[in-house]
Amino acid sequence: MKNPHIIPLDVIQLVYAYALILLSLALARLQHIGHEKQLFWSSIRMLVQLIAVGYLLHLVFAINSPLPVVLMLLAMAGFSLQVAGSRIKKRMPDFYRVVGSSIIIGCGGVTVYFSLLVVGFSPWFDPRYLIPLAGMIFGNAMNGASLAAERLSSEMHERREEIECALSLGATSRQSAEEAIRNAYSAALRPTINTMAATGIVALPGMMTGQILSGTEPIIAVRYQIAILCAITGAVAVTSFLIVQQGYRRFFTDAHQLKSE
């Protein structure tokens, strides 16, 4: 499966690349930022993780069967959930159930739609397409999920007085939390909206750059990039929507009472 358009990187070339990490370490030490150790270990972690993923992908591609691909997608969903959870200091009630089901439905649904209808590759589990596409969708939706869940929790906490005032005037749970829901959803979508607006001007996206480097025609690479950005926006929108819609209910009882913190 050698690609004649690409220059393969050997170990010596990677060592040259790592010289840039050494340069970063030296500069960090010069500036006394105190993060040299962290920088060093992060670079080692990145090396080990990527080599492991490389071999895993090599194996999955070689097996070319649906089961390992599906298992890998589930692992991605699991890691997305774990990372989203670890980023949040104050989690909403039932955090893992709410965010987990939203990621599975939102990202899973968009991945299936995108694979079958937009790209239309065959077989449906083709790991060369499905794994990188799902990786990008899950990775980006995870950021949206973290933002939605975290903002919803903080809004519900900060707006406690407003919510109880509305409830005492006869509002439903949904009506009393409307502002909190709106702000949480808006916060989740904003980075994706900004990314779309800046793409192609401020930076060339990673996927497009990778495709161009591997010999794909720039116009084809651009089309893929447009399509994947649409998919990411859709996944972030659906996942965050499900999180705020399921999430706000967890702060109330069935009798429209705000649960104590």
Binding site: E161, E162, E164, C165, A166, L167, S168, L169, G170, A171, T172, Q175, A255, H256, Q257, L258, S260
Partner: protein, 264 residues
């Protein structure tokens, strides 16, 4: 005479607490008794005052009335019906709660008064409507203020808007949680007279939680003294204040901060 008028003209108990208790889980994981064995009746056309030091369970008690919280034991009845069997959204229109800190929604005074209608998905009354005029009159706010940003109003004015907004639902019971805590003496005196008028004109049952002896002395008919979640003494307000029957209530009245309040 319709059913509503019949209910209001009767002299039956209106809100009745029957052996109500609340326990809450403390951060340490143990059960903490917040209220214990609370029994009293608040009648229509009367102002019932709940008085006690901070942490005595006053605010918890009032929140139980319109089901912002639930009792752990006992029942609360509204005109003979257990409130746990009433739809909470309907109940909160019948029993209005004015929270301690007047919260103003974004928008004008008029928009704040229209909020309860929007919650019920009903067309809100206009500035010139009888409904708006009625509540403005009850709380003595001029109609010229309707276009003012609610959040730019003074503390005393916001407390009036808070009260007017609660009254716009035509409640049968009005609950007030520390309504004078952020008010100066002239505003407190004005609010006391307003509450008296509302109680007489609207024939409501009013329950007011306070640590302010001015309110207790001037407007409360039935007074309840609460300490550590238990009723230590209850009776006619003026008699209780003139001649406390228990050491607990005497000690409460003798505290220096109480004397300051009573001299208001």
């Amino acid at each position: 005479m319709n059913m509503h008028q019949q209910q209001k003209s009767g002299n039956d108990p209106f809100v009745e607490f029957i052996d109500v208790g609340v326990t809450k889980l403390s951060p340490a994981g143990t059960n903490r008794l917040i209220l214990d064995g609370i029994s009293f009746t608040a009648r229509q056309g009367e102002i019932t005052g709940i008085i006690g030091a901070s942490g005595s369970g006053k605010s918890t008690l009032i929140r139980l009335c319109n089901r912002l919280d639930n009792p752990s034991v006992g029942t609360i009845e509204l005109n003979g019906q257990n409130i746990a069997t009433i739809d909470p959204l309907l109940l909160r229109r019948k029993i209005a709660l004015v929270l301690q800190k007047p919260f103003m929604f974004h928008g004008t005074l008029l928009e704040n008064l229209q909020r309860p209608f929007m919650f019920r998905r009903m067309a809100p009354p206009s500035a010139g409507s009888l409904e708006i005029a009625r509540v403005l009159d009850l709380v003595q706010l001029p109609a010229e203020m309707l276009d003012r940003e609610a959040r730019s109003l003074s503390g005393g004015e916001q407390q009036r808007v808070n009260l007017a907004r609660a009254l716009i639902n035509h409640p049968e019971v009005l609950l007030l949680d520390e309504p004078t805590s952020a008010l100066d003496h002239p505003s407190t005196a004005r609010l006391a007279s307003t509450l008296n008028n509302i109680c007489q004109n609207e024939h409501l049952a009013i329950i007011v939680v306070t640590h302010d002896l001015y309110l207790a002395e001037h407007i409360v008919n039935h007074l309840i003294y609460l300490e550590e979640g238990q009723i230590m003494e209850q009776g006619v307000g003026t008699q209780m204040l003139a001649m406390p029957q228990t050491t607990a209530f005497s000690n409460f009245l003798a505290k220096p901060e109480r004397e300051e309040k009573s001299s208001l």
